[in-house]
């Protein structure tokens, strides 16, 4: 009965997405305002160029791996909606992987279902794929990496990780937590690691799992950093990354390196966006920022990332989630598509929160949406009404950072810290019963 419900959810989601894609085609053809994302047109153009044997970087503003253009080559000869179907399929795979991860950790069926619904029927997420944005592919690969790690398949996880970092730079922030996660206490040669199951005893305030932390704390992790799993992961993922990067550098030269990699590492956009730094960048754009100024703007990001990793690495999914929220919030450029990066992880941490929807949860949701809406209002006045509201817009971005910080703090405070793995029982190793 419950599996029938899950199947129905997937079927309805799939039909809904197909419907949205078809509607999007109609809107593009009949209305001046397109449904399709501008980025999708960029990908399609780059794919057309690649299909004709040219560099995809001849298309201005194409700043992605050539792999993306390659995936969309069928846009040129099959249907221009091919890419949207691909991204929406990835969207469904994310839902599938969420379900698998939660099931593997013995989360009850009703919680699994709610978590699934949060992803599959989140307006942010189903519009992203159907409008032609490629983020669902990244989310699907990321969750597959988590599944591989949960099953002790370090080699496969490393291969996918190298690919995903080549495809989209931001997953590099997960490198350190994954390394810490590959703890020799759990990853032993020839033995599948044991998962910590979800339990009904989740009502208490943050538990400190002393059994895990006393034995396998950060200091010991630092001392035993060079383990087989870690070296294997580092070498394989690094090799895969270098292989793809080197191959495309051979094909497309410096243009590829600059547009697909260096641009993202050095990007400062003076145009208005959710980031608190946009107005500071615009006001100082005519002069070169000093090294000190660049460092000061980089420090909050680095400090927060390091602290979150060292505090929560063992609870890998929660660590990924808080890292991603913080990364997006402190980034120099924030666009709405970045929110998908942590939306795919939100369903995976909710079963371990003791925050109630009424009223703490609702407060967080309304505050986050409210801060965003407030920013959008000023953004609309600036961009579509031509009012000089730069200062108000910048203040709105400060509020948005404050809202992100508040939500992050609330989630941290109400999270039941739950490492993914537990130790094998005694000297007689007991394999994971599932």
């Amino acid at each position: 009965m419950t599996s029938l419900k899950t199947h129905s959810i997937f079927l309805i989601s799939a039909i809904f997405r197909v419907g949205l894609i078809l509607y999007g085609e109609w809107q593009d053809a009949h209305m001046e305002v397109r449904y399709t994302d501008v980025d999708y047109l960029v990908f399609s153009d780059a794919a057309s160029l690649m299909a004709s044997g040219h560099s995809p970087y001849k298309r201005t503003t194409y700043r992605y791996s050539p792999l993306l253009a390659f995936l969309l080559i069928p846009n040129s000869f099959l249907s221009r909606s091919w890419g949207k179907f691909l991204f929406s399929a990835s969207d469904l795979f994310v839902g599938l992987f969420i379900h698998i991860i939660l099931k593997q950790r013995k989360v009850p069926e009703d919680l699994c279902t709610y978590s699934l619904l949060i992803w599959l029927f989140n307006p942010f997420t189903f519009t992203i794929g159907t409008r032609g944005n490629c983020e669902p592919i990244v989310c699907a690969i990321l969750l597959w990496i988590v599944i591989c790690l949960m099953n002790g398949n370090v080699l496969q996880a490393a291969c996918w990780y190298g690919l995903i970092v080549h495809f989209r730079i931001y997953p590099i922030i997960y490198a350190l937590p994954i390394i810490l996660f590959l703890d020799p206490c759990f990853f032993q040669s020839g033995v599948k690691p044991l998962l910590c199951d979800w339990t009904s005893d989740q009502g208490k305030t943050p538990q400190i799992n002393s059994e895990v932390t006393d034995q396998c704390d950060v200091w010991i992790a630092f001392k035993s950093i060079f383990t087989r799993s870690r070296i294997l992961f580092g070498l394989v993922s690094g090799s895969v990354f270098l292989f793809f990067t080197g191959f495309f550098f051979y094909l497309y030269g410096w243009e590829f390196l600059h547009e697909a990699l260096l641009y993202h590492l050095t990007r400062t956009d003076p145009r208005h966006n959710f980031s608190i730094y946009f107005y500071h960048i615009y006001l100082n754009y005519e002069r070169e920022l000093s090294i000190l100024e660049k460092l000061i703007s980089f420090l909050p990001q680095v400090i927060v990332q390091l602290v979150l990793v060292f505090c929560f690495a063992k609870d890998l999914l929660f660590c990924f989630f808080v890292q991603t929220v913080a990364f997006v919030a402190f980034n120099k450029v924030i666009t709405a598509q970045y929110f998908v990066w942590f939306f795919c992880l939100l369903p995976l941490i909710l079963p371990w929160t003791n925050m109630k929807l009424k009223w703490q949860g609702l407060c967080c949701i309304l505050l986050w949406i409210g801060a965003q809406t407030h920013w959008l209002m000023w953004g609309y006045l600036l961009e579509f009404k031509g009012k000089n509201v730069f200062l108000q817009l910048w203040v709105a971005s400060l509020f948005f950072l404050a809202a992100n910080t508040f939500v992050l703090i609330m989630l941290i405070r109400h999270h039941n810290y739950s490492p993914v793995f537990r130790r094998h029982a005694g000297s007689k190793t007991t394999l994971k019963s599932e």
């Binding site: 099959l78 500071h280 100082n284 005519e286 031509g386 405070r413």
Partner: protein
């Protein structure tokens, strides 16, 4: 348990494959029912065999950046060899092109530049001419601070709004005004066939060019005024026959009509230098406070030994 999970996974895989097949079928339906596929992007090229190439392209083959004085020289002198000769039997043929109206429609950073063009052909008698096809060419020089999106214009071309359209010069969509150069838009609009074969023929057409504002240099007033002058308008005709083996141009006889209308002014918001100091300080202080909040919360709420010792002390 493992077998059950495996079965579930297999089912999901089948569901995914079924879904992909369904999607592929729908995609094929879209291919069959949709109009022609989008071709490679880039400046459009005329479909008509006799139409001339873009005029502005010749300018940019000679000059790197747009300069009004050199462009006016180019229009006055370089194009003279392409002007249509007076037809032997039709000395009294008078072709006049004028801009009736020139205005900015819309608000904010995205507006439409609306221009109303009048083509007036006057002749004492109907000239005897072979079949000919004409198009009106509108050349809009854009100032610094404003740009046209070539891909948006391409979309309009596909929707048959323009016969041909191209952007020359600085087509970077992202740079602010003070880091970019000027650009020029050349639009071709169909004026019809055999328009000289009717006595005293007239044609009015309206074009709306979508334009976007770049980020402006800082200004104390908080606004930057960008002026957009009138377009240059020409008529390009292609005629069949041995005597006329390529297209030729008609230009307005003088510039007096232009100065009547004048430039349109676009008021674009800009940052204010007075904000620089305190915006930077408050930005970094806010970032620092957020960082501190998250770090403190993480350390006190995480499961590491250090937090336990700190709490106990």
């Amino acid at each position: 348990m493992a077998i059950r999970q495996c079965n579930q996974l297999c089912f999901y895989q089948k569901l995914a494959i079924l879904w992909m097949f369904f999607s592929g079928a729908v995609s094929c339906m879209l291919v069959v029912s949709s109009s022609s596929e989008v071709e490679m992007r880039g400046p459009s090229h005329s479909q008509h065999s006799g139409a001339r190439k873009y005029i502005v392209k010749s300018y940019f083959e000679k000059y790197e950046n747009l300069c009004d004085s050199s462009f006016e020289d180019f229009m006055a002198h370089e194009l003279s060899s392409s002007l249509c000769q007076v037809f032997p039997d039709n000395r009294n043929l008078d072709v006049r092109l004028s801009v009736l109206e020139h205005s900015l429609v819309g608000e904010g950073s995205h507006c439409h530049l609306s221009s109303s063009i009048k083509l007036q052909i006057e002749a004492d008698s109907i000239p005897k001419l072979p079949a000919h096809f004409c198009e009106v060419i509108i050349i809009q020089r854009l100032p610094l601070g404003v740009f046209a999106d070539p891909f948006e214009l391409q979309h309009l071309h596909e929707r048959k709004v323009f016969t041909n359209v191209a952007v020359f010069g600085d087509t970077n969509l992202e740079l602010p005004s003070f880091r970019s150069n000027r650009s020029v838009v050349e639009v071709h609009m169909d004026a019809g066939s055999n328009i000289f074969s009717e006595q005293n023929n007239g044609l009015e057409m309206n074009i709306e060019l979508p334009l976007h504002a770049r980020y402006q240099p800082l200004d104390e007033s908080g606004y930057s005024i960008v002026e957009i002058g009138e377009p240059d308008v020409l008529l390009s005709c292609s005629m069949e026959g041995k005597q006329y083996n390529q297209s030729c141009l008609f230009m307005s006889p003088n510039d007096s009509a232009k100065s009547r209308i004048g430039a349109v002014a676009w008021r674009i918001p800009s940052g204010m230098k007075a904000h620089t100091g305190f915006v930077s300080v408050v930005t970094f202080v806010t970032a620092f406070l957020s960082t501190l909040s998250i770090v403190v919360t993480s350390i006190f709420c995480s499961g590491i030994k250090v937090s336990k010792n700190m709490k106990q002390s």
